[in-house]
Every structure is written in C-alpha cells, then in structure tokens.
C-alpha cells in the first residue's frame, strides 16, 4: 500500500514546475520507502468506527 502512496506522490510531482523540487520530493519518497523490507507491515495510527443514531 505504501507503493500506492509513492505513485500518488509521483503523479502530483508531475504537476510541479520546479524540476529540482520535483526530483527531490520523489527521491525522498523512494528513500523512505526503501527503509521498509519486502513483506514488512508498518503500523501507524488507529482506525475508529463510530455508530450514531439520529435523534427524533
């Protein structure tokens, strides 16, 4: 799933005019992603589930 975020970053960076900034953001993202081993799961944050009922 992190790879999907890299794709989003790459796609967004295509819209950035500054070539150096574009390259540097993408290479930073790749560098971060390379810290994750193949098949490794990284945990961050929690998922909540709210059940609400509309008052009469």
């Amino acid at each position: 799933m992190l790879k999907e975020h890299l794709e989003v970053i790459e796609n967004e960076c295509e819209k950035i005019n500054g070539k150096n900034l574009r390259r540097s953001l993408v290479s930073l993202a790749v560098e971060i992603l390379n810290q994750v081993d193949e098949g490794e799961t990284v945990y961050a944050g929690t998922i909540y589930s709210i059940v609400a009922r509309k008052k009469k």
């Binding site: 992190l2 930073l28 490794e40 799961t41 945990y43 944050g45 589930s49 059940v51 609400a52 009922r53």
Partner: protein, 192 residues
C-alpha cells in the same frame, strides 16, 4: 467492517457516502439492504464499483454521481448511512457541510456508521515514522499543486462532536480489530 457486521441491514434503504472502491456498497447489497445509494463525485470510482458489483445486486444499487454537499435525495429517506474512509479526504469546511447533508436525508432514528483513520499519533511504534514521513511528503506535494493536503486525520472525538452538534446520539466508538485481537495496535495496517 466489524461494526457494520452487527447491524441488521435487511430491508433498509442505505447510503454509502463516497463510493470509493465500492466495498461497502457491495457488502450492504449482499447482506440484504432493500436499496443502496452509492454516491460519489468521482466517475472513475463509480465505474469501478459498478463493474465489480455482482449482476444479481445491480437492481438494488443506484450509483449516482453527485456532490455530497448537495445530495439528490429527499429529506428523511435513509435508514443507514455509511462513511467508510471518506473523512480523511475531506477538508474541515466540507466535512461539516457533508455531515449536515447526510443528516438532512437521514430518517429520524436512522443509523450512521463512520469508519476512518485517527491521527497517526494515536498509535506508533519505532517504525511508524516511515509512514509519517511518506504521508508528510504526499501532503506537501498536494499543498504545492492543489493548495490543500491530500489526507487529513480527524480524531474520532472531533467527528463525534460534529455528529452530536447535528443531532445525532453517539452509540459506540470503537477501534477496529479490538475485539478480534484484544489489543489496540492492529490498525492502519500499511505494508509495502
């Protein structure tokens, strides 16, 4: 989808706010909902969800392209609304407008289920910084190109307060996987 599992959706008119990949739409149809409105402003999402919906459910689902801030539905027509991973892609102003609209179309005594991400700081270990850094870059690129972040993490308390303000009673707030694993750490499972 553990919380939704406990709700008997048979015969209910449902609304999936934000179709996404259509997981919840399909799930509601499979579990016997009378009708599911699956609404999104993203035509690609609607097409994808429609394509992967088994044909036998197609008559029970209405895929509609619309702005969630202005739903093409009558007042008090929905029994169950789901907002599955919607909130994290909505800015604070639109968030209030969307929940106001979801309130308008909900019947009295209707249910709403909101599933989403708590802020990353709600659980972290020694490797969590990797995800945080990557998301920071993603948000930075969106700021540069669109003027707003790609992802926003609202605490569940904030969403609960909005719902209470709009006339909803909070029945439960749970962290997913709690009951399955008996611990808080199994969320936002993000693997490479």
């Amino acid at each position: 989808m553990s919380v939704i599992d406990e709700i008997d959706v048979r015969g209910l008119t449902c609304l999936e706010a934000g179709t996404g990949a259509g997981f919840m739409t399909r799930y509601l149809a499979e579990r016997g909902a009378k009708l599911v409105y699956s609404i999104s402003n993203n035509q690609e999402h609607l097409d994808y969800a429609r394509k992967r919906l088994p044909k036998k459910y197609i008559e029970k689902v209405k895929f509609i392209k619309a702005d969630l801030r202005k739903l093409p539905l009558l007042n008090r027509t929905i029994d169950l609304t789901t907002a599955h991973m919607l909130v994290n892609v909505v800015n604070p102003v639109d968030l209030l407008l969307i929940f106001k609209e979801l309130t308008r179309v909900a019947k009295n005594n209707a249910l709403m289920v909101v599933n989403d991400y708590n802020p990353l700081s709600s659980y972290r270990d020694e490797r969590s910084h990797i995800v945080e850094e990557l998301f920071r870059i993603e948000n930075a690129t969106h700021y540069l190109t669109r003027g707003e972040p790609a992802l926003v993490w609202y605490p569940s308390e904030y969403i609960s307060e909005i719902l209470k303000f709009l006339g909803w009673r909070i029945e439960t707030v749970e962290l997913m996987y709690d009951r399955t694993h008996g611990r808080r750490s199994c969320s936002k499972n993000i693997s490479k």
